[in-house]
């Protein structure tokens, strides 16, 4: 993750999508330890070219509370980035958030919450379920993603939770966008008309 947020990082592509504007911030309280950007591994997911995305992996998203604790504990990571289609065509139409590897015991949980612009829809996966959240939205050429991961344990209880991996994928529509078709079509008709006039 530290590579992705470096000022020298200008963006990267997976399949037909460009990922830019990465932001990473962390915080922690109680027994929680802040997870450094360098402890988060970002793995491009190319398994399905029509549904590209990322795996986010870290062994540090772990927190535990004990019966003697008079405070709650957590570690939190906020991730932001922008996804664009390289062609500029509005082809992104859905987002899947998946909690892949995790654990939770007692009064503790791990949770990934996410909001995506422009639709403002919210996604959420949690160690208590759901583990997969898939939603569609009107096709767009640009998405601004705000994501939050928290692993927390309630003080005064013997509890622990962890998230080792979660994933995010953006699929796309196969057909060109209607407006582009109309523009292209009108151009063809106009060309034909011009040629006939000559």
């Amino acid at each position: 993750m530290d590579v992705y947020i470096a000022p020298s990082f200008t963006g990267c592509t997976i399949s037909d999508k460009l990922f830019t504007n990465f932001i990473y911030l962390n915080s922690a309280e109680g027994n929680g330890v802040p997870v450094a950007a360098s402890s988060v591994l970002v793995v491009p997911d190319l398994s399905n070219p029509l549904n590209p995305g990322f795996h986010f992996v870290s062994s540090a998203w772990v927190v535990a509370s004990h019966t003697t604790d008079t405070f709650d504990s957590f570690t939190d990571s906020s991730i932001g980035f922008t996804v664009q289609t390289i062609s500029g065509l509005p082809l992104i139409e859905d987002n899947t958030l998946t909690l892949d590897i995790f654990s939770a015991t007692g009064s503790a949980f791990g949770d990934v919450a996410e909001t995506v612009l422009p639709s403002g829809q919210q996604w959420g996966v949690d160690t208590g379920g759901p583990f997969v959240d898939h939603q569609t939205f009107p096709p767009t050429n640009i998405l601004v993603v705000s994501k939050d991961l928290i692993v927390a344990a309630q003080g005064g209880t013997e509890s622990s939770a962890s998230i080792t991996q979660f994933s995010e994928n953006f699929s796309e529509v196969g057909a060109p966008e209607p407006l582009t078709c109309v523009l292209f079509g009108t151009g063809l008709v106009a060309l034909g008309a011009l040629r006939r006039r000559k």
Partner: protein
């Protein structure tokens, strides 16, 4: 002959363009020199924004200043802030895991600052949150109050919540045509978990756009005009 004339007028226009370009470059350098006096907003805690950037810091071409916090049971040193520069917008990206509430817990804060776009007009503000009621029931709301001086601008405040939309935009042009150059922003964060419930909010973005023609549209209109002029010239030549 016609072609030559066209060439000459183009080269004349070219000289004028170079002159204008030089003047613009000079102006730009002047603006840049003034802007250089102001530090860039960095990734830091809200407490350090309050301590170090009272006079203001820049995110892209926008100036953020007058940072403050009130009515808060989360310390400003626990709230992280990063500049957020996206495609066509600039703003602040807030993050803190401290807005975490277990059984009957509540976390509240009001964050305040001023945003201005020197030499430009701010045309919209977008608020987003990422948070969830992870078990049981509770409330998560973030309300962004946008004021000119101490008066709400039309359409303000805007809010997002766990129960509703995670994003809200106030388009100043759409809200009665009151374009802004300086905005006072006050953001109220409220997180509450009911009995045997958990609620967490840890991310907020507040971004602003300025008035600028939409690139694609201007390219289309521009190419249309060029095409029209080409066609009419061709007709005249005949």
């Amino acid at each position: 002959v016609l072609v030559k004339q066209v060439d000459m007028s183009q080269s004349l226009g070219g000289v004028m363009k170079i002159k204008r370009f030089t003047i613009q470059l000079g102006l730009l350098a002047l603006v840049a020199a003034v802007a250089n006096a102001t530090p860039l907003c960095t990734s830091d805690t809200w407490q350090n924004y309050i301590n170090n950037f009272q006079a203001g810091c820049l995110v892209g071409d926008k100036l953020f200043s007058n940072f403050g916090i009130s009515a808060s049971n989360v310390p400003a040193s626990n709230i992280n802030v990063s500049p957020d520069i996206g495609v066509g917008f600039e703003g602040l990206f807030f993050s803190s895991g401290s807005y975490l509430a277990f059984a009957n817990g509540t976390k509240d804060s009001t964050l305040t600052y001023t945003v201005s776009a020197p030499g430009q007009i701010i045309s919209s503000s977008t608020l987003t949150m990422a948070g969830r009621i992870t078990s049981g029931t509770g409330v998560i709301t973030v309300t962004e109050d946008l004021q000119q001086g101490v008066v709400d601008i039309p359409g303000s405040p805007i809010s997002v919540s766990a129960a509703g939309s995670g994003a809200a935009t106030l388009d100043f042009v759409g809200a009665g045509g009151t374009l802004q150059t300086v905005l006072n922003v006050s953001t109220q964060i409220h997180v509450h978990a009911n009995a045997s419930s958990t609620a967490t909010l840890s991310q907020i973005t507040e971004t602003f756009t300025q008035l600028a023609p939409e690139p694609l549209q201007s390219v289309m209109v521009g190419s249309g005009i060029i095409l029209l002029s080409l066609v009419s010239r061709k007709r005249r030549n005949r």
